[in-house]
Amino acid sequence: MDELVYGLYIIAVALFIYGLMGLTQPRTAVRGNKIAAAGMALAVVATLIEIRATSNWTLIIAGLVVGVALGIPPALRTKMTAIPQLVALFNGVGGGTVALIAWAEFLETDRFTGLDPAHGLVVPVVVASLLASIIGSISFWGSVVAFSKLQGLLPGRPISLGRLQQPVNILVLLAAVAVAVVIGVGAASTGVNPWWFPVILVVSGVLGLMVVLPIGGADMPVVISLLNALTGLSAAAAGLALNNVAMMVAGMIVGASGSILTKLMANAMNRSIPAIVAGGFGGGAAASQESTGDRTVRSTSAADVAIQLAYANQVIVVPGYGLAVAQAQLAVKDVAKLLESRGVEVKYAIHPVAGRMPGHMNVLLAEADVSYDAMKDMDDINGEFARTDVAMVIGANDVTNPAARTDPNSPIHGMPVLNVDEAKSVIVLKRSMSSGFAGIENQLFYEPQTSMLFGDAKKSVSDVMEQLKAL
C-alpha cells in the first residue's frame, strides 16, 4: 500500500507542476488551476489511504468538513476588490497549519526524544520541525497584520518603534533561535519542558507582527507575496520532517515561485525587498507635504469633462484602486463604449501595481468585460501620453505622481509611474484631496493642465455619461 500512496503522490506532484504551467498563460489558466486542484484532491486521498488504520477518523472528517464550510463561502462571496486580503488570510492559515503540525510532532514524539533513528537522521527532522514552526508562525501572524491593514482594521500607515525597530526585531529573532536551540539540545538528551514549544510559537509570532506592522500599506502586496513564499518554504520544511515527498515538492515550488513573484512586484515599485522589510515607507512624507500647502487645485464639472472627452482624439483611462472600491468599472466601460462609437480612441493604462497586487486591476476590468487589447501595460503606454488629449485618472493616486520622476526628496522617488502629466489635459476623479495609499501628496493635482472632479467615482462617471448622451 505504501507504494500505492507514493505513486499517487508522484502523480499529484506532476499535476501541480502541469497545472502551474497552465496558470502562466491566459488561455490555459482556468484549466491549469483545475488540474492543480485535482492534484491536491489526489494527494489528500493518498494521505487518507496512508492513515487508513487510524482511530481518529471522527476528528479528521470533522476537521475537513469544518474547513470546507469555512473556506468556500468567503472564496465565493468576497468582492474582487477585497481579494488581496483574502489571499493574505488563506496564506496565513496555511502558515498556522505548519506551526501547529510542528507542535503536534513535538508532543507526539515525546518532545522529539522519541524519534526513531532508523527512519532517517534525527537532527534534520528536529531542525526542519523547528524551522517550520518559526517560519509558519511568522507567516501566520504577519498575514493577520497584512489582512488587518488591507481590511482597514489597522491603519495602513507604518506602525513602528522608529530607530529601535531593527535592533528589537533582531533581538526577537535571536530569542526565537535561542528557544529553538534549547528545544533542539533538549531533544538530544531527555527532552525539555513541553511548554517551550508554545514559547517558540509566541516569540516567532511576535517577530511576524513586528516585521509587518512597520510596513506601510503601499508595500503590502509585496509583503503578502513574501509571506506566501515563506509559507511554501515552511511547508517544504515540514515535509522534510515528516518525510513526505508531496509536501516537500509542492512547498518548495511555491517557495521558489513566490520568491520570483515577490521580486517582480518589488521591481515594479522600484523597492528592494530588504528595504521593504526594513520598513518605514512614507516616513519622509512630511517634508514634501509642507511645500505643496499653498498651491491650489482646479475643480471641474461633469459637463466640462464630457465636452473634453467628446472632442478628444485619444483618451487614456488610468484606473486605480478607488475605481474598484466605487465599483465603477462597468460605468467606465459604458463611457468608453459611447466614446468609441463617436470615434474617440480609448485605452486603459495599467500600472503594474494598480489595485493592490500586480494584475489586480486587470482582473477587475476583465470583470467588467473590458477588452483585453485595450488594457495597456505601463511600458507600452507611457510614450503615448504626450499625444493624448485627455487622461482620465479614476481613483489612482501614487502611480501617477510625477514627483517620483522629478523630486529626489519624495519618498516614492524612482518608482516607475505613469506619465499622466504629459497629457494635454488631465482629469482626476477623486473623492477628496486626501493622500493615497502611500500617504503622500500628489503633485499631479497641482499641475496647470489638471482639473479635479470630486465625488464618488461611480457617481461622477455616471454624471459624465449623462452629459455625454446629451451632447
Binding site: I17, L20, T24, V30, A36, M40, V44, T47, I51, T54, S55, N56, L59, I60, G63, V66, G67, V68, L70, G71, A75, T78, I83, V87, F90, V93, G94, T97, L100, I101, A104, E108, I224, N228, T231, G232, A235, A236, G239, L240, N243, N244, V245, A246, M248, A250, M252, A256, S257, I260, L261, M265, E340, G359, H360, N362, E367, D369, S371, D373
Partner: protein, 105 residues
C-alpha cells in the same frame, strides 16, 4: 542518511522547477498565480492529516492542535482553489467579448 540526502536533492530540484515554470508569466496573471500557488501550499493539510492519523489515543491538547491544523489546512486548500477559479473565470469570459468588440469597430 541516504534518504535524507535524497530528500535534499528533491528539494533542490523542486526549487528549480518552481523558478523555471514561473519565470515567464504575463503581468495580468500575477494575482491569480499568487492565489494559485497560495492554494498549492495548502498541501500542509497532508501534514496535519498524517500527524493526527499516526497518533494513538491523542490527549485533549493534541486533539485540539490537530483539529485546528486540519481546519486551517482545508480552508487554505479549498478557499485558495475556489477563489483562483473565480478570478480566472473572468478572463475566460473575455474571448467572446473581445470578438464582439472587434466587430463593433
Amino acid at each position: 542518511m541516504e534518504s535524507f540526502l535524497a530528500n535534499i536533492a528533491i528539494l533542490v530540484l523542486a526549487g528549480f522547477v518552481g523558478f523555471a515554470v514561473i519565470s515567464k508569466v504575463p503581468n495580468t496573471l500575477h494575482t491569480p498565480l499568487m492565489s494559485g500557488t497560495n492554494a498549492i501550499h495548502g498541501i500542509v493539510l497532508l501534514g496535519a492529516l498524517i500527524v493526527l492519523g499516526t497518533v494513538d489515543d491523542p490527549g485533549l491538547l493534541m486533539q485540539v492542535i490537530c483539529f485546528v491544523a486540519i481546519v486551517f489546512g482545508t480552508v487554505n486548500v479549498v478557499g485558495g482553489f475556489v477563489v483562483t477559479d473565480r478570478m480566472l473565470s473572468m478572463f475566460k469570459r473575455k474571448t467572446p467579448a473581445r470578438s464582439s468588440d472587434a466587430e463593433d469597430r
